[in-house]
Amino acid sequence: MPIQVRIPAPLRKLTNEQELVPATGANIGEVLTNLNTAYPGLFERICDESGNVRRFVNIFVNDEDIRFLEEKATPLKEGDEISIVPAIAGG
């Protein structure tokens, strides 16, 4: 089973409206780079000019925020599910 990436609504124009796309890579950084080959432009939406994940983007691996893991170096294995989620206001 490949790694699955859940694409948020504002980025689906880049993925032909697909919500869940397969990806490969040993860590988050690699997955983002590889996704950009399949869906050009995706990387720069998620990461800033220096390659860091943008301030208002949250990335989860199997429900855990990568900021509690190893950020972009967070290792991945087959079957992992990645979610890209925009920040949300209070409640």
Binding site: P10, R54, F56, D65, F68, P86, G90
Partner: protein, 422 residues
């Protein structure tokens, strides 16, 4: 009010400034920056002044040119204009000269400042044609969405952490809303809602309607300025969850200056959080603008328990720009803060109010708020909603038989009675 349309022109990305149409969208496609309402301030300056505002009904909608809807409000037209109370006894207790409470514990209809944001979000939801509205909530927002949606005849879904205070759960259920309890912390509820909002096309007040929702908080700032006699308090202390309220009070003060209602004047906004979930205060205290999320919030202050605060970065910017500070307080200090506000000002606040009082005390004691300058504390929710938090911390009634002798024996040593008799 067709001209209203021209006051509120667009949505605009806070990061890159790109303009977007006034739809149910909340983030920039290019950098995920939050979208914010943009106004034509020159036009607004020509339409409103102190007299025009003062002649209008006493609700938050007296500032409607600075709120992001096209027509007249259709939901929550009676919300806001809560009392600004001068609290001299509490001032003396805290050792300051001039202290006011902005008392949103009596906001209409659900006793928290969230009625302000919901009034705007749902009025806009109706303009955009939504029939189903929803929210992720730490409690107060759910109560307000449920009540205001019921009054407006909208179907509503509210998603909350399953372990919220009983009063906050009942305070949503009673309106016939669909309450979904999620086994998890608020941030997990939030994430789920972001996925649902993308899929179902509902009007989520704090997801796809966020630009409208967030602006509602400005009305608290407008009211403070007007009620103080058209001037700003030197210091405003504000509780923070996502940090949105603080940034919007700051924006309200700046807008009043921009449209000529107030003169340029110095003011500081200060943020308050509970120590068990204080990512914004922590970053601010470290003089950083990188807000490190809290993975497992642990505090009795459930209304503020947001571990990944969306507006944390901007809240820090607002504090920095105005020379403000942030602090945090323990659960014990929260309880003490609730009791002090009740005993010295006669106002029963929820846990977030305890946080505001306790952090204000710390900011005063550390000299960050000078004792001789004016201070407003934003008290944002009613204490009856979080009674569990103070159960057993404010004594028990003394129970006697209906007998005068027993009563006299009971009060024989009461200091207050002894004093009045001398």
């Amino acid at each position: 009010m067709s001209e209203q349309q021209t006051f509120f022109s667009n949505l605009k990305c806070r990061e890159c400034g790109r303009l977007y149409p006034k739809e149910a969208i909340h983030i920039c496609e290019f950098d995920f920056g939050p979208l914010e309402a943009a106004y034509d301030y020159d036009l607004i300056a020509k339409h409103i002044n102190r007299d025009v505002i003062a002649s209008r009904p006493q609700t938050m909608w007296r500032y409607r040119e600075l709120l992001p809807i096209d027509g007249s409000p259709t939901v929550g037209a009676q919300v806001g204009f809560t009392p600004l109370v001068r609290a001299d006894r509490l001032a003396k207790h805290l050792g300051v000269d001039e202290l006011y409470i902005k008392n949103d514990t009596v906001n209409y209809p659900t006793l928290s400042f969230k009625d302000r944001v919901v009034s705007v979000a749902l009025s806009r939801a109706c303009e955009l044609g939504f029939k189903i509205v929803a929210c992720a909530s730490t409690g107060n927002l759910a109560n307000s969405v449920a009540a205001n949606a019921a009054a407006a005849g909208l179907t509503s879904y509210v998603l909350i952490p399953a372990n919220l205070e009983k009063s906050k759960i009942v305070g949503s259920l009673v309106y016939g809303t669909q309450v979904i309890g999620i086994e998890g912390a608020y941030d997990q509820v939030n994430r789920l809602c972001s996925e649902i909002a993308g899929k179902y096309g509902w009007g989520f007040v704090n997801v796809n309607l966020r630009p409208y929702y967030a602006e509602g908080s400005k009305s608290m700032g407008f009211e403070i300025a007007e009620q103080l006699g058209w001037k700003l308090p030197r210091h405003t202390v504000i509780p923070m969850a996502s940090g949105s309220l603080l940034t919007k009070i700051h924006k309200a003060y700046k807008e009043f200056i921009k449209v000529g209602i107030l003169e340029e004047q110095p003011f500081s906004v200060h943020g308050a959080q509970a120590s068990g979930c204080s990512p914004i205060a922590e970053a601010k205290k470290k003089n950083s603008d990188i807000v490190k999320p809290v993975s497992k919030p642990d505090t009795i202050v459930k209304s503020l328990a947001i571990g990944t605060p969306a507006d944390g970065y901007y809240a820090i910017r607002s504090m920095n720009e105005t020379g403000g500070s942030a602090d945090d307080c323990t659960d014990e200090e929260v309880i003490q803060g609730i009791r002090e506000l009740a005993e010295y000002a006669g106002i029963f606040a929820e846990t977030a109010g305890g946080v505001t009082v306790a952090c204000a005390r710390k900011l005063i004691e550390s000299g960050k708020i000078p004792r001789n300058e004016s201070i407003v504390l934003c008290i944002t929710g009613h204490g009856l909603k979080t009674q569990e938090a103070i159960h057993g911390h404010c004594g028990e009634p003394r129970v006697i038989n209906p007998s005068l002798r027993e009563f006299e024996a009971l009060i024989a040593n009461d200091a207050a009675v002894l004093q009045t008799q001398n």
